[in-house]
């Protein structure tokens, strides 16, 4: 029969252990589980959401210059819809100031000049009357940019 731990330690062990540990007197401090201090990270999700909203608002304000969220939304809609309707990236529209004659339709024309064989993808590209409808070309013709419309016209013809 194998020896148990009780045989190994002897009968006196349990009595001695009880005597020793009974002499240990725990200090009864107030229970910590009742203290109001709780997990400091319990508001972390809320703080994270607030920080994200703040960053979004700040970037919206910096992009549009307006504190009105409606303006941010309009800007987002404009930026998203512009590429989908014209097929051209929106920065191209910003880079090319409206030229004297062909500026309103320069995107379509320049696309047609680049693509050559695909000028009819966009319905706006086939609407030259836009140039006449817009008063902008007549108001401020900029001579420095007159090269672009010329290129566009030549490009549209030559492919």
């Amino acid at each position: 029969m194998p020896k148990t731990e009780g045989d190994l330690l002897g009968r006196d062990f349990a009595r001695r252990l009880r005597a020793e540990l009974d002499r240990v007197r725990p200090r009864y401090s107030s229970p910590r589980y009742m203290s109001p201090v709780r997990n400091p990270l319990r508001f972390a999700p809320v703080a994270l959401c607030a920080a994200l909203a703040g960053i979004l608002a700040l970037s919206g304000f910096m992009a549009t210059g307006s504190p009105n969220p409606v303006v941010w939304t309009q800007r987002v809609v404009t930026v998203i819809e512009a590429p989908s309707s014209t097929g051209a990236p929106p920065p191209a529209q910003d880079e090319h100031e409206p030229g004297p004659a062909a500026a309103p339709s320069h995107e379509a024309e320049s696309k047609a000049s680049r693509d050559g064989s695909e000028p009819r993808e966009s319905p706006e590209a086939a609407e030259p009357p836009e140039a006449a409808e817009s008063p902008e070309p007549a108001e401020s013709p900029e001579p420095g940019e007159s090269a672009e419309p010329t290129d566009d016209h030549s490009g549209s013809g030559g492919g």
């Binding site: 540990l21 200090r27 589980y33």
Partner: protein, 191 residues
């Protein structure tokens, strides 16, 4: 076991208060046999009850509540001893070249060779010994308290008994505490 587990309802604040009042001294004494520092034993016991309170709604009465708290407390004590070993290494490095501090003779009078030997054991072994020989747990309850199988409990009790028998040897006689050398350093066994 001090109380049947079916007297406690999970999530009940009143029942947890009762569990605290009943089990705090017993859990504290278990950790006092594992940790040599009384303040550390108190800290770990309090931390264990904080953890237990946070999980009190999820406690299932299929295991005794006190064994469940013991399990949390022993794990907390094991973590504390690991970090204490690292701190003691840093302390040794800082004391290099300095004279060794002399031990307080009054400290030796309250020391026990039995508790010192228990604290020198790996905490899982000393916890098993205390749960069996002080709290009177059976193997099944110890297994629930330590989160191991009953077979493992038997192995641990046997290993702890052998080690204690070797360490205590002939000095294991009642009243031998006064004869213990006045050394205030206690070496922790490998966890």
């Amino acid at each position: 076991m001090s109380e049947p587990s079916d007297e406690y309802r999970p999530g009940s604040k009143e029942d947890f208060d009762r569990l605290y009042r009943t089990s705090y001294p017993r859990v504290y004494r278990t950790l006092a046999a594992i940790l040599s520092d009384p303040e550390a034993a108190e800290d770990c016991t309090q931390d264990a009850f904080v953890q237990a309170f946070q999980a009190w709604k999820r406690w299932r009465p299929d295991a005794p509540a006190e064994a469940w708290v013991h399990r949390i407390a022993v794990n907390r004590a094991i973590s504390y001893r690991r970090s204490a070993k690292l701190r003691s290494l840093g302390e040794i490095m800082r004391r290099l070249g300095r004279p060794t501090p002399t031990a307080d003779p009054a400290d030796a009078a309250v020391r026990s060779d039995l508790l010192t030997a228990l604290r020198a054991l790996p905490p899982r072994l000393s916890a098993a010994i205390v749960l069996r020989h002080y709290h009177g747990y059976n193997n099944r309850e110890i297994a629930a308290a330590l989160g191991v199988s009953e077979r493992t409990v038997g192995t641990r009790l046997h290993q702890a008994g052998e080690r204690l028998r070797v360490v205590l040897g002939t000095s294991f006689q009642p009243g031998a505490a006064e004869a213990f050398p006045s050394d205030n350093r206690e070496l922790y066994a490998k966890d």
